[in-house]
């Protein structure tokens, strides 16, 4: 059986990142776009942990620690912004939020 190494983990990370990227481009709902951004962030953490494991160092793991903290803060602020936006415009669809267009 094939031995699972660094390349397999990196492939999973890349695939997950790309799926999140497609989601950000394709979806119209701000909340789902935000969820896809989180997906990309999580994909990067897989790469960090895999590199850290196969390098035998702690730095990647500690970095993921910080990424988790920053992601939690980011989600709180981002969702507050979305709620404020919804209060003012009564919608969260990005194609209706076009005040800066034209």
């Amino acid at each position: 059986m094939m031995n699972v190494g660094l390349n397999e983990y990196l492939t999973v990370a890349v695939a997950m990142f790309v799926i999140g990227f497609i989601g950000v481009l394709v979806r119209k709902n701000t909340l789902v776009i935000y969820m896809c951004l989180e997906l990309m962030l999580v994909a990067s953490t897989i790469a960090f942990v895999a590199f850290s494991r196969f390098n035998g160092t702690m730095d990647g793991n500690v970095f993921v620690f910080f990424i988790l903290t920053v992601a939690a803060a980011e989600v709180a602020v981002g969702l507050a912004i979305i709620v404020a936006l919804f209060r003012r415009r009564q919608t969260v669809q990005v194609d209706e939020l076009n005040a800066l267009k034209n």
């Binding site: 997950m16 481009l25 993921v64 988790l68």
Partner: protein
């Protein structure tokens, strides 16, 4: 055995990531995201980072997804979206992501794969909780302080954003 588990968790992660993108109902997307996080957490266990696996469940599944579900239900969007894909966006997405895949795969495969040694020959430093404390309180002491300050700032920011101020109703 770990190989089978790797394929299982990888499939779980990728399948639920796809489900996040293609689901038309935002609540279903959030729940698929939750399943994906369980898969990622399993991958972390296979990489011997037990603390990060637990933290992933606690912070992401416990706090972030719960917050997402709360906001989705608070805003109460009526059963998803009217028109999902516009044609230029879909074309741009396909081209962009294809480029991204090609670039990443070229990078990974061009050296015949990165020549990482076998996992069994490397000491799993991430498995030991002592190493985290050791690093966080010596090398990464300043980042820990900065992140603490960032959390405080984020909390204040959220309070300011969600509070209604008198006389600012017509500020555009």
């Amino acid at each position: 055995m770990p190989d089978i588990l790797f394929h299982l968790f990888a499939f779980l992660t990728l399948a639920s990531s796809v489900a996040v993108v293609i689901n038309h109902n935002a609540v279903n997307s959030a729940l698929a995201f939750l399943v994906g996080l369980v898969g990622v957490s399993g991958l972390f266990v296979l990489l011997d980072s037990f603390l990060l696996a637990v933290l992933m469940i606690l912070v992401y599944a416990g706090a972030v997804v719960a917050l997402f579900l709360f906001i989705i239900m608070l805003l109460d969007m009526q059963g998803g979206e009217r028109k999902s894909f516009s044609k230029p966006t879909a074309v741009a997405a396909v081209i962009g992501s294809a480029l991204l895949v090609v670039c990443s795969m070229t990078l990974i495969r061009s050296f015949g794969g990165l020549d990482a040694p076998d996992a069994a020959s490397i000491l799993p430093v991430g498995a030991n909780l002592k190493h985290y404390g050791d690093q966080l309180f010596t090398t990464y002491l300043l980042p820990v302080q900065v992140v603490g300050f960032l959390l405080l700032t984020a909390m204040l920011g959220v309070i300011v954003l969600s509070k209604k101020f008198d006389g600012m109703g017509d500020v555009k």
